[in-house]
Amino acid sequence: MAKVNRPGSTSPPDGGWGWMIVAGCFLVTICTRAVTRCISIFFVEFQTYFAQDYAQTAWIHSIVDCVTMLCAPLGSAVSNHLSCQVGIMLGGLLASTGFILGSFATSLKHLYLTLGVLTGLGFALCYSPAIAMVGKYFSRRKALAYGIAMSGSGIGTFVLAPVVQLLIEQFSWRGALLILGGFVLNLCVCGALMRPITLKEDRSSPEQKCDCRTQKEDCKRAAPYSPLTKEWAQTCLCCSLQQEYSFLLMPDFVVLAVSVLFMAYGCSPLFVYLVPYALSVGVSHQQAAFLMSILGVIDIIGNITFGWLTDRRCLKNYRYVCYLFAVGLDGLCYLCLPMLRSLPLLVPFSCTFGYFDGAYVTLIPVVTAEIVGTTSLSSALGVVYFLHAVPYLVSPPIAGWLVDTTGSYTAAFLLCGFSMIFSSVLLGFARLVKRMKRTQLPFLAKESDPKLQLWTNGSVAYSVARELDQKDGASVATAAPGYNLT
């Protein structure tokens, strides 16, 4: 506990062990996102072995995706209360157990439980804590670090897909699931890499925790079987939950959450419906598969290059704008898609959409970190990815229903395009409103002592803190908006 005595590194190192964290997060993204996508390679085997049709086997993939996203807040809570390392290692063990038990499955229901629920839970425990950790270690090069870390899903899919196919040919699906379970156990290695770091702003928050801490100590001192213990425990719990999820009440975060809902609604159907749409306009099977490969590869390029780009000094303060620009462009691409009816037109579409898809995926954690600060980043990311879950589940079937009833893909694509454009417009509008409020700030500051003003109006405090940020070039005092120091 020497670190408590000495605060250690007080600012994000932006390098050094940070790159190991990035490598760990890269591996986490491979083991979670890429492996989830590769599960669909097993479907043909499951269909022949269990004599079921495609719809039944496709549930496995949906369950994994859904559970991973829905339990993301649980993952960030576990890593906040225990430690990031323990959380990710636990997640790795769970996911690996899911795969190993799945290799012994005798019916499709067993696979739903083991490969679906258990593995999804394990992935959820790993994903958001790992991404939050990257945010703690970087500030200047945050977007680049995130870009490299998130490119794991694209690169992982690219590399793992033929490997999984080879494993199935050599060992059949049972052996392949077993070996994949061993591969997923590497999440424990990533967990070991996630050394905890205490940042300057983390020190300020223990002062607010003292209310709960004193209450906790009182709980321990009191007789364990006293009737008051439950009440104490409940208030302790309420207090800590309230503190942890206080960012939910921030207007900025609410705006981000709503926009994420619409954005997630819009982005998922393309990966499902690009190939059928291309086939319907006369592109051959091989060329359609080629379009998907382009999408995947350009996605990776977009991740890394856009991350590097938004780290440049000129763009660093405009990451928010870059994010909404990327989302808006993706929406525009969607709107143009029904007019593209041949391969030479679809290839540039794939390139553009893939690039900006990778771009905004990189910037989601960056923008979230800017809004809530690095202390609550883990929980906030948990909530953000939780909000991805329901649109991911709901959007492809709705698009499919639209395609079936209208007979063409135009309605589905237009709906997705408008959804994404609305998401980016909402963000832009919120930013405009904030700017207008900020122009009123100088008047308030002139009237009284700025420091007193700091703690009375949350949004004002945030604006002042942002100005400080821009001066220092480091996110220093972004914490503690909305807290009332009594």
């Binding site: 250690g8 022949t48 040919e169 060992f171 049972r174 052996g175």
Partner: protein, 415 residues
């Protein structure tokens, strides 16, 4: 014949290069007459033929024909202005013949046939001329419009594959066109090497074309095989009909399973419906039928007539090997091979344990590194604290020591 496929001629005496071989022509109900040289119709043979036909009239009729000719038609693409006509010439290493000299070249504007065999021995060129055919002086090549090559294979192999499931009546037709004398051509039908009887095949001749038709009925597997028609001119031309039962095409990758597991072997036929399916195992070259009566081990079922599934339960290592599924038709059998590999669970366990060992090693290494760096930080901190304490002590001592001289100095100063 790629060189000349671009040329397409609208009018004018275009001469498609009909090679002195056989032309194709699908017959539908043309009246047949016996060519010269055939044995006369005997009422006996006719009666037998009619009886056979009525006996098997409930069977389906299959009509197949072969074109033994390679006719490559050359077309002229565009008309050239001012041309009065077009001249086709055929040039070999020894001769050059022009259109009007080759009677077998016919103007067939409708046909577009390409030759696929390439044996360069002759060039055909198209030339434009400004005169009439009558005298040679007018055959001045004004413009060479194109050139192409034609094959001149001595023996041509033309085959047609016929798949047959049920007994049926067969009508096989061969056609042959030549510029030479039709009467000198000897026509025979053979099954394999065996010469077939004359009375079952009919020969017809019209113009330059010779048609021959062989009618018979297939009722059992002995009648399946290769039927060939032979036209003996200077070189023998032959057309073959390969009559076979439908073949099964399946996956060729081995099926991998584990001990104690169960598996399903599937045999499918896309467009055929066998009357029965049987399964065999083979160790080496001998095929042994699978004992279907062991109900706890083997279960055979198939949802549709064109597929069969063999489910094997409680697999053991001896169950591995080659399995054959036979599709039984009325006219024969066709088989398919499936390879079954039974692995013990230790086989994928080894890579798995290797990965686990690697994970444990890496985790231990990283955690140890972390503990080491933490200790290092602790010790320098403690070292720094010691240093600080010592510095404080030395400062104190220095201060005490310094105080005295200072006081003395001051005192001395004061004094």
């Amino acid at each position: 014949m790629r060189a000349l496929t671009g040329l397409r001629g609208p009018r004018a005496p275009r001469a498609p290069s009909a090679w002195p071989l056989l032309l194709v022509y699908l017959i539908a109900g043309t009246p047949w007459s016996l060519a010269d040289g055939d044995p006369p119709d005997s009422p006996f043979t006719n009666l037998v033929g009619e009886e056979m036909m009525t006996k098997y009239s409930n069977l389906s009729l299959e009509i197949h024909s072969i074109s033994l000719t390679v006719s490559s038609i050359h077309h002229l693409d565009k008309e050239r202005r001012g041309a009065k006509g077009y001249l086709w010439t055929k040039t070999t290493t020894t001769t050059t013949k022009k259109t009007n000299q080759i009677s077998s070249w016919k103007d067939k504007p409708a046909h577009r046939r390409k030759d696929s065999r390439h044996d360069v021995s002759m060039a055909v060129s198209v030339q434009m001329w400004n005169g009439d055919f009558s005298s040679d002086e007018n055959y001045l090549p004004c413009l060479l419009l194109g050139r192409g090559f034609m094959t001149n294979k001595s023996s041509m192999l033309v085959e047609k594959n016929i798949t047959l499931e049920k007994p049926s009546n067969m009508e096989l037709t061969c056609q042959f066109t030549t510029s030479g004398d039709l009467n000198s051509i000897n026509i025979t039908w053979r099954k394999g090497d065996e010469l077939l009887e004359n009375n079952n095949y009919l020969i017809n001749a019209s113009g330059n074309t010779l048609y021959t038709q062989y009618t018979f009925t297939i009722i059992n597997s002995k009648q399946m095989g290769s039927y060939s028609c032979f036209f003996e001119e200077e070189k023998e031309q032959k057309g073959t009909f390969n009559i076979k039962v439908p073949e099964l095409h399946g996956k060729h990758k081995p099926l991998i399973t584990y001990v104690g597991d169960s598996t399903v072997l599937v045999c499918k036929c896309e467009h055929c419906f066998p009357t029965n399916w049987t399964w065999y195992r083979s160790n080496g070259s001998v095929q042994v039928p699978v004992d279907v009566h062991m109900n706890d081990k083997y279960v055979i079922n198939g949802k549709h007539a064109n597929e069969t599934r063999l489910k094997i339960m409680h697999l053991s290592e001896e169950d591995g090997g080659s399995y054959w599924c036979h599709a039984i038709f009325q006219l024969g059998e066709s088989e398919e091979h499936i390879e079954l590999v039974v692995l013990s669970f230790l086989v994928p366990l080894k890579p798995f344990l290797a990965i686990i060992a690697e994970v444990i090693l890496l985790v231990a290494f990283i955690l140890l590194c972390e503990m080491y760096t933490q200790k290092k930080k602790k010790h320098p901190e403690e070292g720094k604290e010691f240093e600080q304490i010592e510095q404080l002590k030395s400062d104190d001592s220095n201060g005490i020591e310094n105080n005295a001289p200072r006081h003395r100095k001051i005192e001395s100063g004061n004094q």
